[in-house]
Amino acid sequence: MSGEALEDTQRTIERVARESYGRLVAYLSTHTRDVAAAEDALSEALLVALRVWPRDGLPQNPEAWLLTAARRSIIDLIRHQRVVSESEPTLLLLKEGSTEMNSATDFPDDRLKLLFVCAHPAIDPAMHTPLMLQTVLGLDAARIAGAFLVSPKTMGQRLVRAKTKIRDAGIQFEIPDKRELPGRLEAVLEAIYAGFGIGWDDMAGTDQRGRDLTEEAIWLARVLLELIPDEPEARGLLALMLYCEARRSARRGADHEYIPLSEQDPRQWSFPLIDEAEKHLAAAFHSGRPGRFQLEAAIQSAHAERARSGRTDWAAISAFYQQLIRISPTLGRRTGYAAALAEANGPQAGLAVLNAIESDAVSSYQPYWAVRAHLLQQLGKTPEALDAYDRAIGLTEDPAVREFLLKRRG
């Protein structure tokens, strides 16, 4: 095989691995209820593919080929473990699958079940997002660990533990019934958004890993929406992330300096992304079932409006935050509300909102101190403003944001 053809084959393997990874893991683990075994079997199959495909040429249906190879590897593994009697149902399931598989290009898409398993209430909420990134998107533990600021070894162990729990606790691979669905779906959406948030904080296009994680989260939301197109909150989440993504490159100036949203040049925003977000948000609203993610997307929509009208409707943004606080008064929402209300009704009004937050809660919450410093400075309360700036600067991880705050502090 020529070098070029070889490269071509490797590219195909990478593409199939990327596009089919989650579908294959989902299908295999739905039948075995063992995510780790499904992943191992798929890795094994991919290794075989790397060896065999360049030699024999690409199979007609690479995905089906991988599934057959992975299934064989799971059956071998089970036989090897000599637990045939216990695993008989699994073997049967895998074999039954084989008839439908060999002929058809499409096998059932079980990714939704896998997403629900990853965000199952029996699993530590902190592990929902890492599990999704690994099992549905095939990200390795080291990369996930970096994003979540834990050591690769620790993240590896936590992932193994979570998968063992899925297997041993007998968590069902199924779509929750109507009664359960809203709560369970919320956990899935939260986990996707958490992944996006981590990528977003990792900042500003300078960090390739960070940029990837926001893209992975958007990818997950698209997968989810494909599977449940009628859930307005899933659509709201996608809209929310697209609005933010549209502003990515505008967050940094020519010298990589931090530029806050209010000072961004809207001409640098991505209008195709904003348009797409608008369409999703409108469709979500149309369903008449509002929710947390639609409200957050609505706030971003109000910001995006500045590109058209040249102004920001802070009163509308304050009202959206109020509704969010009514759902659940998180620190982030109360801080966001304070900032918006200050823009609408003056710094004193915003400060009153901040003062109502109990001080224990904010000792390591950077946005609170950044907003507080900004408002105190506007009110001319210099010593208090300097204090608040110090707290904000000390809690900042991003060097560009730190530099920005130091300058503002003066």
Partner: protein
């Protein structure tokens, strides 16, 4: 749990030592220290003088060996340390990431060996 943040600084970081304190690196450190204290997790710590001021002693085959500076000629050198009292490694890592040295050098997080200390101190 107690953790040490071992702060490794780049040559640029060490150069700031000669500043009058109005540079942004020192400003960032002032704010960071303040946040550690306000969060109630700061146990102690100190910056170290620049690596060139170090002197290293070893006894080999009964002979004294004295060397200028630290052992290795690396780009980043130990520039200081802080001891934090926090509930978990995860939280210690969060604080390490906020350390001004993390974006121009490196911060190593190590648990203090309190059990070993107990055996030594008795």
């Amino acid at each position: 749990m107690r953790f040490a943040l071992l702060i490794y600084e780049s040559p640029e970081g060490f150069k700031m030592r000669s500043s009058d304190g109005t540079d942004s690196y020192t400003g960032a450190w002032r704010a960071y220290h303040r946040s550690l204290v306000e969060a109630g997790i700061y146990v102690g710590g100190d910056p170290l003088q620049v690596p060139e001021t170090g002197t290293t002693v070893r006894i080999k085959d009964g002979k004294r060996h004295v060397q200028d500076g630290p052992f290795a000629d690396t780009k980043e050198n130990l520039g200081g340390f802080a001891i934090l009292e926090v509930p978990s490694l995860d939280i210690a890592l969060d604080w390490a990431a906020r350390c001004p040295a993390a974006s121009i050098g490196a911060v190593e997080v190590r648990p203090l060996a309190t059990d070993t200390k107990d055996r030594i101190v008795g």
